[in-house]
Symmetry: C3
Subunit: 250 residues, 3 copies
């Protein structure tokens, strides 16, 4: 794996995004995540997974400079893979703990909210689906997941307002389950994963499916259309110009 650091301790796998300073997500990252999680699903020794990042970011989201070089159809293929991955993560048969070591933005937030439990470090790190700020839409599934944790009202305020949540605010609203200092993040994630993993695996898988599969099925039905509309807006003149400015000015 080029962009993932994978380790294992006492039946708990740890998957860390590791790509440059901001762990920007590109197609290779998504391919590697999907492959890695498939393998961990099949691995009978693995009882739970921790998804985290290296450095100061969980991930800042999509690698926009790279995607500005993508043709429409290639971008649609990538987005299909990406949304398939977060939907797979949402109904993953084993516990998945998100250990959010820093900024959790856009595509990063979408992956985080598909996990079973979110632990985040305090301080300046933000969590958001603020795509509207640069004139981009979202995907049907990502909107549903935000609604699931925030409720309709706060989800609307967040996504129509482009809110960058502080960790504390995200915790107060239920988007983050727990805040721990950076030096305790790994230990706390392991403890939480172990707590989930001590349950009977078949019962856990079955109850999690009852809790989440109906929504995942509904997300899948609507995801394709939302990707096509997302792409139309992404390549529109106004949004394309903002994306280029974003790349130049950061």
């Amino acid at each position: 794996m080029s962009f993932l650091q994978i380790s294992e301790k006492a039946g708990i796998a740890r998957v860390a995004l590791s790509r440059g300073k901001v762990n920007a997500v590109n197609e290779t990252v998504v391919d590697e995540l999907a492959e890695c999680f498939r393998k961990l699903e099949e691995d009978r020794n693995i009882r739970a997974v921790i998804l985290t990042g290296t450095g100061k970011f969980f991930t800042f989201g999509f690698d926009i400079p790279e995607f500005l070089g993508y043709a429409k159809n290639d971008f649609i293929r990538y987005l299909t893979k990406f949304t398939d991955f977060y939907t797979y993560l949402f109904t993953y048969p084993k516990p998945v703990i998100a250990a959010l070591n820093g900024h959790t933005i856009a595509g990063g937030c979408m992956m985080a909210i598909a996990c079973d439990y979110r632990i985040m470090v305090p301080g300046k790190a933000k969590i958001s689906l603020n795509e509207i700020e640069f004139g981009s839409s979202l995907f049907a599934g990502s909107v549903e997941l935000m609604k699931l944790w925030l409720g309709q009202r706060n989800a609307e305020a967040a996504m129509l307002g482009g809110t960058m949540f502080s960790v504390e605010e995200a915790h107060r609203l239920g988007l983050i389950d727990r805040i721990v200092p950076p030096e305790e993040l790994e230990g706390e994630a392991e403890k939480t994963a172990a707590r989930f993993a001590e349950k009977d695996a078949a019962a856990f898988r079955s109850i999690k499916k009852l809790l989440r599969k109906p929504l995942a099925d509904d997300m899948k039905k609507r995801e394709r259309d939302s990707i096509l509309e997302f792409v139309d807006i992404w390549y529109s003149e106004a949004t394309w110009r903002r994306l280029q400015e974003k790349v130049i000015h950061g």
Copy 2:
């Protein structure tokens, strides 16, 4: 327009119900609202809409004395137009701010909860779907919208209990987003509308659709049956008698 006052300032349209003392909603009011919002949707200069009322009421709801003179089929036609209108409002492609200048009752509440943001004046004004108090049912869509903002538990208590919410209670429960004194209502509504309108219009439209269209589609499927049941109960002996008493005694 006979019963609407329409104005515009800096790309923000203001639509004010203006019909007698309580802004009672009849078929002409609904026809005018539907036509007015269609025109504002097409008007490229309009970036957001404020829906408000004149005088001390947003609206007290349906004009019951007038509807007591309606034959069943005419009432069904009216109710279809009315529920179509609030569903259209709920998925309106531009931001709609409800500036609730006073009592927001029954049909008035149904329109208010279809908007994107609700600002209300403090004091004695109530907001409620209290139809059960005079033995009337509700419409599928209006029930879904109450559930959306209040959650199942508070929505059940409100609609099965006929609760008349004070502004403060409605705010605490999430039915009202903000309380401002009457003299600041117009200015606050304009500021809020401008804040929504500064986002990219295509991204706003797309994200709002993702947030709301699945529920609106579901509402539409069930609205017709709920109207027919509503009408059966409305014209039942017990409810009809209560409606007539309500008209006589206020």
Copy 3:
């Protein structure tokens, strides 16, 4: 009725589970409950129903020792009756108040959360769907009802974590509507039932249907598959062993 105590006062029926020390639910209990509620539905003198238990327990749930003697197909038949009953209860056309006189566990909790209002005594009594603790799954409908009152996040924590809620915690989270001392439980349940029952019966029935039937219909579609998966896990080696230990050691 062998295991139900049924009485009536001023149009309010009181149905009390009465089977041994813990009011364990078996097939006869479910058959009797279904028959009793059908009769009360048809009885024009009955305006509301209180569901409660005798002794220190509302009910501890299924009679596991008895069901360990059931063949798979018989157990499926029982579970179908049981889930049909709580779904029927959830959309019961008259008000149903749960007067929870003590522990409300597993199947007991499933019936309680299908009622319109839950009053519980303070103290040591717990309320929970903690099936995961002995490696059992749940039913689609019961999961939906927990999500309805707790929201997705707290429902997941409860059912994947096997949480035994104290009355106070359940009240704080919205699973319990009111806490009253044991000596006031009956009176408070009667007052609450009377308050619900004073509304127009046709309007109550219609609005309750709008509030709950769409979810009940969805529950029904998915219940059968969930029962089959529940049974597969129930009869699995690991869970079967735990059930037997539970019976021996309590």
